[in-house]
């Protein structure tokens, strides 16, 4: 070990396993069990980054998730991870880390020139300076981002796999410190399903770095025994390296488990992270507390650390963070740090305590260890550039509002600071419990629980181990009891520790004319003066001050600085902290990768379901190009060798109109409607009459929303007096089913109607064109295909071999056409039979594009393409489909609303372009005069537009204001590229206007 700041003994690192790593290109070594931060400190490296705005040198400040400074980029290329906290990165072989925010290098940072101009960059600087003139913002923004970017996002696809799981438990314990483990043990012993999640690699939390005793043994031994017992309980799941990052409604919590980030790149396999979506009946929050700093001038120098972090580095990681240390505190907890430093061989030059006196047991222990305790004093400033070199002390007045006396300078290379503790109330707050300020302990404590949840231990402000164990045991027992278990664990014993009260101190008063560089939010370079300025400028709400100053906006979300900032604002406004309140704690607690959130729901196969018909493989084998229609993948067109899409669609259309085409119509929604009131029900659902429909016949119907707008359409067939078979649009199937069930279940429960969706059961082939009857009759037995005896809109049942088929004479092209339906397990059999029988007529498979052209040639609308939820049946010019005789149907009353009968509603028309070969883009806006200045008054838009090979020119359907009375008018489609397409308004039927072809 060449780690010059590594202590000779102790710690939880593995001294036999040396790990090589690089930081900013320089090679170092550490030990297994180190974090990147502890390994850097073991090598004497404090300077790890530059601040966001002024590019001031910054060092490692903490030992956990709250770290504002040691933000690093890990690895390069596709494995790169931006903005990792060095304090949470487990060291692994060949780890390659570098500082963010330094250009060109950490030691020589060009941007640090900003720090000389810091007085020119106050709060709201960006708003005030760069927002004017407005057009320059984009340029400024580019430069600002270059100067300030935090880390670099990967520029290659993420190579990793991300797992996820849902989980259910009786008790979720968040935090695996002693309080969490104790609660988990109480619940687990009772037999409850327990999940314990902890963000670190080891359970035990801060206690791993303490000297406490539990149940008469050392704390780390108690932790080990407890983990061993928990591991043996079959219903207990222990999740290390797992951050609970969100607490949502009804005890739904999200955990990100890191599976491989601690391993060398070459040893990683399987998923990188696993997202746990947990529904817990009870939650115990044992998230601990974070130490907060005290704010004073130049409190941001490398070597200024949180006192508890110093203890953690010494006791857990066997690192000596400094040789000559000053401890600065306003409470008792940092006294232990002084002792830890001394036992690690550091010289503790002074323990500076803001309190006038300190006489607790530990204070006396410190004094008797020969450490000088300087009461009623504060650190007012520091010196040093890349590492602290000295501190300046002054006396603090009794009221804490001023400093006085001679300035005393003490040389040091480490300043350990404790401003007291802030319970980690993030998750509690996310659960709806509003954090409440308590003056007596100077903490925000968890508020009243709104969910089945309790906070215990330090998370509840209970810093004393004995009391924390009591709370945790009670919470574990009661959570399990609430789930019906008999939980009666007794409290593990620990000694009570008497502590002197804290002296709240947020911002050290400055001597007259001095001060400045008093950093509240170290990551975002927000100083006390920025908050004071915001208050002077009239900001009152902490939420507004946060946004104006950017306090708490960094990747650390202000975990160390926010409370000091609130206190400074409160003081400036002359109000209490309770009145000032906190900013909102939102998920995520620490940053979560996009990978964890996306999981494996990626790419064409798994992002969204792809639904396929029974004939899908045939379409693939026959060269179809596919398009997505809702979740369905449908054949779009079937190009032959050398054909463009245009060629293929023209060929498919002509073949269908001149001989016979075949189309996979399986995706249409299909609903069986049975029961004595079926016809009565359809009378309400559709706009036309259904009572008088003969058995064996079908009818086309429009379904409206209650607002009178077209919602769906399709043909419904009467199979028996009380039995109908409905077709819906492909995209509307699920919605129509839910819509009809809703009326039956909530409005008309007395109606005797049952609905069953059979969309997936049937495979449907539409055989279309003058030769269609010849093809279908060659395949289907038992049906007379004479066009007179089997008329349009009739249904017949026959057989194909052994398979019963239903044939409906329905047409969506104006041609003689049949839809052949068989159970989908025989779909391909039917399809290939039809293809075989059609060979002599050169049967041509066609896709959705030809379907669209064929129906547009006839002016048949597609709901959802030619309608958009604001189109009525009258707008479509299909008023014949509206019953004049029915007293009521869904949407009827809306048809006489003033807005629905407006004359200038957009109405469906046809368009024929002046140039027959120009196809207007769908969606193009239409105007009367394309030469008026922008914005031109728009009169409508094109909803469908194609080249029609059958007509020999382009055709379009459009919705145009008052369109029904504008036949013959010329309109224009001015396009974004400057082209203007001229077209004539026509009726929306372009082909076989007399309907001569429907009988073949």
């Amino acid at each position: 070990m060449s780690q010059r700041c590594r202590t000779d003994k102790g710690g939880r690192i593995d001294r036999d396993q040396t790990i090589q790593f690089t930081f900013n290109g320089k090679a170092y070594s550490g030990q297994a069990g180190d974090t990147l931060a502890s390994a850097l400190l073991a090598n004497g490296v404090h300077l790890v980054g530059r601040s966001w705005k002024y590019h001031r040198p910054r060092g490692i400040m903490s030992a956990g998730a709250e770290e504002p400074n040691a933000i690093v980029q890990l690895e390069k290329g596709q494995y790169t991870i931006p903005n990792a906290r060095a304090t949470q990165v487990e060291l692994y072989q060949r780890l390659d880390a570098s500082s963010v925010n330094c250009w060109p290098s950490l030691d020589f940072d060009l941007m640090s020139v900003n720090s000389f101009f810091s007085r020119l960059m106050p709060a709201g600087f960006y708003y005030k300076t760069f927002m004017w003139p407005k057009f320059m913002w984009m340029k400024y923004e580019y430069l600002i981002r270059k100067a300030s970017g935090l880390g670099e996002s990967p520029d290659q696809p993420d190579p990793d796999r991300y797992e996820r799981t849902h989980a259910h438990c009786d008790v979720l314990v968040v935090g695996g410190g002693v309080a969490g483990l104790c609660a988990a043990l109480a619940a687990g012993r009772a037999g409850a399903r327990v999940i314990v999640a902890d963000e670190q690699s080891e359970f035990g939390g801060l206690t791993l770095a303490s000297h406490a005793q539990i149940d008469g043994r050392s704390a780390d031994s108690w932790i080990q025994v407890t983990i061993d017992e928990l591991q043996k309980l079959p219903e207990v799941t222990l999740l290390p390296r797992s951050t609970v990052f969100g607490y949502h409604d009804q005890n739904f919590l999200t955990i990100n488990q890191r599976l491989t980030d601690h391993l060398p790149l070459t040893e990683r396999s399987g998923g990188r992270e696993k997202l746990w979506q947990v529904r817990a009946r009870q939650v115990v929050l044992a998230t601990g507390a974070m130490e907060r700093p005290i704010t004073f001038s130049n409190n941001d120098r490398p070597g200024v650390m949180l006192a508890s972090a110093v203890s953690t580095y010494i006791n857990r990681y066997a690192v000596k963070p400094g040789n000559r240390a000053v401890v600065f505190t306003n409470n008792d907890s940092a006294y232990q740090t002084a002792l830890d430093l001394k036992s690690a061989g550091s010289e503790v030059v002074a323990l500076v305590d803001a309190r006038a006196a300190s006489a607790s047991e530990i204070a006396n222990t410190v004094r008797s260890a020969g450490i000088e305790v300087v009461n009623a004093s504060v650190v007012i400033n520091t010196r040093g550039r890349k590492r602290i070199q000295s501190v300046k002390l002054m006396n603090l007045s009794a009221d804490g509002k001023s400093v006085s006396g001679a300035i005393k300078t003490i040389a040091c290379d480490l300043l350990a600071v404790s401003g007291g503790w802030s319970p980690v109330v993030h998750l509690s707050s996310q659960s709806g419990a509003k954090a409440v300020w308590h003056d007596a302990v100077a903490m925000f404590l968890p508020g009243k629980s709104l969910q089945a949840q309790a906070s215990v231990g330090a998370a509840n402000g209970t810093l004393d181990l004995k009391s924390a164990l009591e709370e945790a045991t009670a919470a574990g027992n009661s959570a399990a009891s609430a789930c019906g278990f008999n939980a009666t664990m007794s409290v593990p014993t620990a000694d009570a520790v008497q502590q002197d009260p804290i002296l709240p101190l947020w911002l050290v008063p400055s001597p007259k004319g001095r001060g400045g560089n008093q950093f509240i939010d170290l990551q975002n370079d927000v100083g006390a003066s920025d908050i004071q300025l915001a208050a002077r400028e009239g900001y009152r709400s902490i939420e507004h001050v946060k946004r104006y100053t950017a306090m708490g906006f960094g990747t650390d979300q202000g975990k160390t600085g926010n409370i000091n900032g609130m206190a400074v604002l409160a003081d400036t406004l002359g109000q209490s902290i309770a009145e000032t309140g906190t900013t909102t704690f939102r998920p995520n607690y620490t940053p979560v990768t996009f990978g964890a959130i996306a999981g494996q729901d990626l790419g064409e196969r798994l992002f969204d379901p792809i639904r396929k018909t029974a004939m899908h493989a045939w379409h693939e084998e026959n060269g179809a190009k596919f398009e997505n229609v809702g979740q369905w993948l449908r054949p779009w067109y079937y190009p032959q060798v050398g054909e463009s899409m245009h060629d293929a669609v023209n060929r498919e259309c002509l073949a269908t109109r001149n001989s016979v085409g075949i189309f996979d119509a399986t995706t249409l929604g299909k609903i069986e409607i049975r029961g004595p009131d079926s016809a009565k029900f359809l009378e309400m659902i559709y706009t036309n009459n259904w009572m008088n429909l003969e058995v064996g016949k079908g009818r086309y119907g429009f379904m409206l929303g209650e607002d009178g707008m077209v919602m769906d359409d399709g043909v419904t067939i009467r199979l028996a007096h009380d039995h109908f078979f409905m077709h819906t649009t492909t995209g509307g199937a699920a919605g129509v089913m839910a819509w009809m069930e809703r009326w039956l279940q909530t409005e008309w429960p007395q109606m005797e109607v049952f609905l069953t969706s059979v969309t997936d059961h049937w495979a449907t082939a539409a055989v279309v064109g003058p030769n269609s009857a010849k093809v279908v009759s060659a395949v289907c037995d038992g049906i007379d295909f004479d066009v007179e005896t089997f008329p349009f809109m009739a249904t017949r049942t026959g057989t194909i071999g052994e398979v019963v088929c239903r044939v409906n004479r329905i047409s969506f092209s104006g041609e003689l056409a049949y839809e052949v339906n068989v159970p989908a397990n025989t779909g391909r059999f039917m399809w290939e039979g039809l293809i075989q029988a059609g060979a002599e007529y050169d049967i041509t498979p066609y896709g959705t594009e030809a379907l669209h052209v064929l129906r547009a040639e006839k002016g048949y609308v597609i709901v959802g393409q030619d309608t958009d939820g604001s189109v009525t049946v009258d707008d479509l010019g299909l008023g014949w489909a509206l019953s004049k005789t029915k007293a009521d149907f869904i949407g009827k009353r809306s048809l006489t609303r003033p807005d629905t009968v407006r004359k200038d509603r957009k109405q469906l028309v046809g368009l024929i372009t002046t140039d027959p070969n120009t196809v207007i883009p769908e969606g193009a806006q239409l105007v009367d005069d394309p030469h008026v200045p922008i914005p031109m008054p728009m009169i409508g838009h094109v909803s469908s537009s194609y080249y029609s090979a059958c007509c020999g020119h382009s055709i379009a359907l459009a919705l145009v204001k008052d369109g029904h009375s504008r036949r013959g008018d010329t309109v224009y489609a001015p396009l974004a590229n400057g082209q203007i397409i001229e077209a004539r308004v026509t009726e929306p039927v372009f082909y076989d206007k007399e309907g001569a072809k429907s009988n073949g």
């Binding site: 409604d249 009804q250 739904f252 709806g432 279940q745 909530t746 409005e747 009353r893």
Partner: protein, 94 residues
Amino acid sequence: MLLIECPWCGERDESEFSYAGEAHITRPRETKNLSDEEWADYLFMRKNPRGLHREQWLHAAGCRRYFNVERDTVSYQISGSYKIGEQPPSGEKV
């Protein structure tokens, strides 16, 4: 992610359900006799309260039944579910 109690299937994850808007809106009879205003009231006007709200949900990925939920729009706490035609658990008549 809410945990919603289906009156038939019990507590299930919100992702199994779809929202169906405010509950207890009854379709008027004799719609042709309604004034435009009365019809618009049925069609468009919703309570959108701050606090207790009765709303319809569909157990879309489950038993496909519609039912009512009483939910606080501020805290998102659900006081209970009840079948169509029943009264909400809070006891407040609707």
